[in-house]
């Protein structure tokens, strides 16, 4: 922990260097990960409420990447950090078993959310008879074939809108054991393999099939790149490229790219300035594919990350202040809070439609939702302390806390 140049996470090394005090005071968790994951969870919640004026504040309106990138990257970083240690200390089989158990937990959480969602849709469909929206009403067609719908949902092929992140995360975890094994032995090779898979799925147009038609909204074969890059950095890669992160040239490039992306995004919201955007440039950068994780999006996220590690150093005292506490709490229970956020977004939209409310109601719903997320995160922390597994009294390398990996 320091305030000077060390901006990267040295934890795996640090754990080895000072084993003696580790029992009394385990290596400090990098609170920045929790903080930014917590913020990402709030942004995902705000973005999932349709036509929410508060979502103007979220980062997707200011550049190419959005909260999904933050979430996947940090999840990769934390998963590698936690399960990497397990693999070193307890072996490949135990670490793999724990990763698969985690994947199962995420699957169960996803199915629970699916049931909640179905209940809401079924309710809405009963009271919906507008003659203006006869076409849109067909979205309820799947309620007529519960057999196919439920089986396809269990197979993760049928995914209602906004329910695509957890299936991605399940697939990433299922594929993670061999990747982690390779990362602990030949990190560069693992990174190259991930890039090769990304390239191959681009070259041959691979994606997972969806039901009833189409493909996955987050193509796992592409998004794995960000997850593996996060894992690679979490396993000491950050130290390896520390010099790069401290370089002024990289900082300038990152800042320049963020400004460029911001300018491009502005032309979407002010079409009258669209003419300032040269045709050839548009041909190159569009359509900024989110499904397939366009490299310009990855670059935008990495540029953001460069700025963040530069200006928010590890061990920054403010990270322990009360102001950041709510976001950090949410980030430490990411699977639960993510699910809650998806549910609250449904519920918030439902409330707004029923009350036909204006902008103020949207603000109230947004704030109430974030408040509920913080409250539940606090409650979960309380339970954890109650069960003697609080951050202060960690017994074993804690899969759960880190397992807040979702």
């Amino acid at each position: 922990m320091n305030l000077t140049g060390q901006i990267v996470d040295p934890s795996p090394g640090a754990a080895r260097d000072k084993p003696a005090p580790a029992r009394a005071a385990p290596p400090e968790r990098d609170l920045r990960l929790d903080l930014f994951r917590g913020i990402a969870l709030w942004l995902i919640f705000l973005d999932h409420i349709p036509s929410n004026i508060v979502s103007w504040a979220t980062i997707r309106n200011y550049g190419f990447s959005d909260a999904a990138e933050i979430f996947v990257f940090i999840s990769g970083y934390t998963a590698a950090f936690v399960y990497g240690r397990a693999m070193r200390e307890r072996g490949v089989v135990v670490a793999s078993a724990r990763i698969l158990k985690r994947a199962w937990q995420v699957y169960v959480a996803h199915m629970f959310l699916f049931v909640v969602y179905m209940a809401e849709i079924a309710y809405v469909s009963r009271s919906f008879a507008s003659s203006l929206y006869a076409e849109e009403w067909n979205i309820f067609d799947f309620l007529k074939q519960p057999d196919a719908t439920l089986i396809e949902a269990l197979l993760l092929k049928f995914k209602p809108s906004n329910m695509d992140v957890l299936p991605l995360y399940i697939v990433l975890l299922l594929g993670f054991p061999p990747v982690l094994w390779l990362l602990t032995r030949r990190p560069w090779l693992a990174l190259a393999a991930s890039a090769a898979l990304y390239y191959a799925s681009w070259k041959f147009d691979w994606n997972f099939p969806a039901y009833p038609t189409g493909e996955w909204v987050f193509n796992p074969l592409r998004w794995q790149l960000l997850f593996v890059v996060g894992a690679w950095l979490g396993l000491g890669g950050a130290e390896r490229i520390g010099w790069l992160m401290r370089s002024r040239v990289v900082l300038a490039l990152a800042a320049g790219y963020l400004i460029f992306a911001f300018a491009v995004v502005l032309t979407w919201y002010f079409p009258r300035y669209g003419y300032l955007m040269p045709r050839w440039l548009g041909d190159i950068i569009y359509p900024l594919d989110k499904i397939n994780l366009d490299l310009l999006r990855v670059a935008h996220f990495l540029a953001l990350a460069v700025l963040v590690v530069r200006f928010v150093p590890r061990g920054w005292p403010a990270l322990n202040s009360w102001a950041f506490r709510p976001a950090i709490l949410c980030g430490q229970h990411s699977l639960e809070i993510f699910c809650l956020g998806v549910f609250l977004a449904f519920a918030g939209h439902f409330v707004r439609v029923e009350l036909s409310g204006g902008p103020w109601l949207q603000v109230v719903i947004s704030l109430a939702g974030i408040g509920a997320m913080i409250g539940v995160a606090w409650l979960l922390t309380w339970y954890r302390v109650l069960e003697g597994r609080g951050p202060g009294s960690r017994r074993a390398p804690d899969a759960d806390l880190a397992g807040g990996t979702a």
Binding site: S127, A129, S131, Y133, E135, E136, T213, G282
Partner: protein, 251 residues
């Protein structure tokens, strides 16, 4: 006699006020309907042949259910609006509308027939069904791209109309990607885009129409379609003139 005249005057005034009110309600979204691109083939048809044939290629949201639904839906309202805006021009608007069709299905089923009809303008309303079925957005974009090229090669201008804004199903239909793709194709081919999604959203925000109403309220639906028909007519005439109309100070 006097009383009757007075009553008539009041009635007329009321009707006039209602009409003016309706026009004002439509104009509430006028700033979202600025033609940035021209429609040269439509302009030529008007100037040289004094006739304008429009085909509306659409799905369920281009029509209204029930008897009289067709005459209240926006294609018929568009015909009336264009006839008023273009005196001396023989305007005909044909609705080629069937529900549940993706862009690719419309292209496969209707294009040959449309090209035989030789319209000056095809209003292509699409996006909703593709979004509901989760059609690959890349495929959707390619379909639009090829479709525009094909129609233009056969002497028709194309105008895109995107989805309706449907507050109740908004969280269930991921329309955003498809709306974005329509906008990109429109920009690339300099095809005007009638942004129905933004217009209807604006109406909801300003309280012009209560689109949250889930009941079978035929009246609201007819008024919404009337407005869309009018705004679309003005949009086409602006595009023909090749210059955007003076922006209204509606904000």
């Amino acid at each position: 006699m006097k009383a009757a005249a007075l009553a008539l005057a009041v009635l007329l005034a009321q009707a006039g006020a209602a009409m003016a009110g309706e026009q004002a309600a439509c104009d509430e979204a006028k700033h979202l309907v600025q033609a940035e691109t021209a429609l040269p083939r439509v302009a030529a048809a008007i100037a040289e042949r004094h006739s304008l044939k429009v085909i509306v290629l659409g799905t369920g949201s281009s029509t209204l259910p029930g008897p009289g639904g067709e005459s209240a839906a926006y294609p018929a309202r568009l015909e009336a609006a264009l006839a008023g805006l273009l005196p001396g021009v023989a305007v005909s608007v044909v609705a080629d509308v069937r529900p549940r069709r993706t862009a690719a299905e419309m292209k496969a089923e209707e294009f040959n027939h449309i090209m035989d009809e030789r319209p000056a303008l095809v209003v292509w309303q699409t996006g909703t069904v593709d979004a509901m079925r989760g059609v690959d957005p890349d495929d959707f974009r390619l379909t639009l791209d090829n479709g525009v090229k094909k129609l233009q090669a056969h002497g028709a201008d194309v105008l895109f109309m995107n989805m309706q804004f449907s507050p109740r199903t908004e969280s269930m239909i991921a329309a955003g990607v498809y709306a974005d793709n329509m906008r990109w194709v429109a920009l690339q081919h300099e095809v005007p885009l009638f942004d129905r999604l933004a217009i209807m959203k604006h109406w909801v925000e300003t309280g012009t129409f209560d689109l949250y109403d889930a009941s079978r309220n035929v009246d609201t639906a007819a008024r919404v379609h009337d407005c869309i028909g009018r705004l679309l007519g003005e949009f086409i005439v602006d595009a023909v003139k090749g210059a955007p109309a003076t922006p209204q100070d509606s904000k």
